[in-house]
Symmetry: C2
Subunit: 331 residues, 2 copies
Amino acid sequence: MNIYDIAKLSGVSIATVSRVINNSPKVSEKTKKKVWDVMNEYDYTPNVFARGLGLNSVKTVGLVCPDVSDRYMASAIAYLEKNLRKYGYDSILMCSGFDYEGKVEAVKILLDRRIDAMILVGSHYAGDCGQNDIQYLKDAAQKVPVVLMNGYVRVPGVYCVLTDNYKAVYDTVCNLIEVGRKKIVFLYDANSYSTTKKLEGYQDALIDNGLKVQEEYKVFMPNNVLKARDLLAKKRLDFDAVIASDDAMAVGALKYVHQINKSIPEDVNVVGFNNSELCVCCNPEMSSIDSQEEELSEIAVDSLIKVLAGKSVRQKMEIPCKFIKRNTTQF
Amino acid sequence: MNIYDIAKLSGVSIATVSRVINNSPKVSEKTKKKVWDVMNEYDYTPNVFARGLGLNSVKTVGLVCPDVSDRYMASAIAYLEKNLRKYGYDSILMCSGFDYEGKVEAVKILLDRRIDAMILVGSHYAGDCGQNDIQYLKDAAQKVPVVLMNGYVRVPGVYCVLTDNYKAVYDTVCNLIEVGRKKIVFLYDANSYSTTKKLEGYQDALIDNGLKVQEEYKVFMPNNVLKARDLLAKKRLDFDAVIASDDAMAVGALKYVHQINKSIPEDVNVVGFNNSELCVCCNPEMSSIDSQEEELSEIAVDSLIKVLAGKSVRQKMEIPCKFIKRNTTQF
DNA sequence: CTGAAAGCGCTTACAG
DNA sequence: CTGAAAGCGCTTACAG
């Protein structure tokens, strides 16, 4: 069953059938209905490949993230897919991994697929690879609109949607200092754009409050509860507050604090990042900074749709994080 | 730059170019190389839409799950995408939601896209919708191979890959009874295929050990840590062991047990399901049943590839779960 | 091993 | 508002 069959059955030309498929305004309501009825009766669906050939698009966007099994990315991907579908776009998913070759390959596959646009989730795409190479991003942006979620690069054609991680950490560290904390540890697991911003927020807050930035208080580690706990145990660091670039490390720290029989929040304050389900599993429940995936996803998709419609859109859209208070902090 | 350009530049016909693109054996090595060189030099990539039109496939599979932000599904999707890519298949992701209309729509969109095959993640597709309707699945299976991950339906063309949830729960409950537990609660959040099997395992183990199945010990609740905890608190159920169909509920139960000042595992045993990161966040760390997403994903993809190659494959492939012992059980 | 030609099923500028 | 026709860029059966 193809467009010729439908044309014949409804007594019009294929051009007319095509027009009603595409809801062209220049078809009379009467023949529109006639053709629709036939299409419905025979359960006709236009062949995507042929449409693609003619239109040079099948309304798909490429969604790329290092790893969907990461809680933050999964949540972002879920929202993105949902929002895109509202506009009739389907999503091709690519888990690129964290290293350069994987990213380049994922982007290439998508481009070869003639996607209409691309959304990259996670600031790892903003250049964290030593060589700091984002050439593949620049090239991609020449071909299709690219939106970067949770990262920022100043490249024409890439639209960046992110939360203000710098400020979130800065404010939190100021609050920690205000309630009397002086030995504040920062836990992080990457050198991505967003993590770097968090680190800067941490350092600046210390400095602005007259505290010294101590190298041993900046602890690089895997984002894993048990490994974080054990690494801290091994280091025997003395601290009275912890802020982490992701929840798992913070929970690990919380567990370490328990091990050494200190109380939370009396002796030590703990703050996580991303406000995941992990926060309510531990005891006490953990304060965390919410990075607003839902809002970001919505902005990402809305902006993309605008760009695809030829409208202009700002290249950097930043919204604040939200501090979620639970029981590991007094503020 | 299209196939005509490449043909002209390499001094052959488009038929030959097409053959080298498709790595046809009936092209001499010499002209193959000649054409390859030209394609590489001009960075030529065949147009997918045109290929799709000709071949009636662009090597994509539809991945559908109720919600990728669920930990279990995200993990499955991640493995699936990775494994599919190895075979040159791209993945279109659809989060269908949990209700019937959403599922039907997701499947329809994919079919209209002319995907080569479909993988459904989660036993919610095995008919949990009151009306128990899996007609859309049967229809889909007429058109493309369908694999169902973590569920079972006896329908031609759908291949089911799952873990033996019945046995996992049965054995665990037997173990609980063996260490002296008598008031064992079962927490669940759905009526999907897999949850039903877990429930059956629970009941049969009780019966086989001479215990009565008490209706109030089967607690239906949302799969959410805090809600589970609070619901149990409200019910004031008296129990000495808990097994849940997913980790979050089990963690909720663990927190409730703490609230009422009982000890784990001395007074109460707790066992979760899916062995997620939540298990190591709580205190003590929680025993859980691992549902082997990685292995399942691999089997799912391998089977699919076989089916697509015209080979025959069993319709039901079941592997055992794995019990992960931590500190909330004595066995 | 290679090529000329038909075919895949649409879209759309052009003419009416 | 509608249709005839060209075009999109491939694949492949057929002939040589």
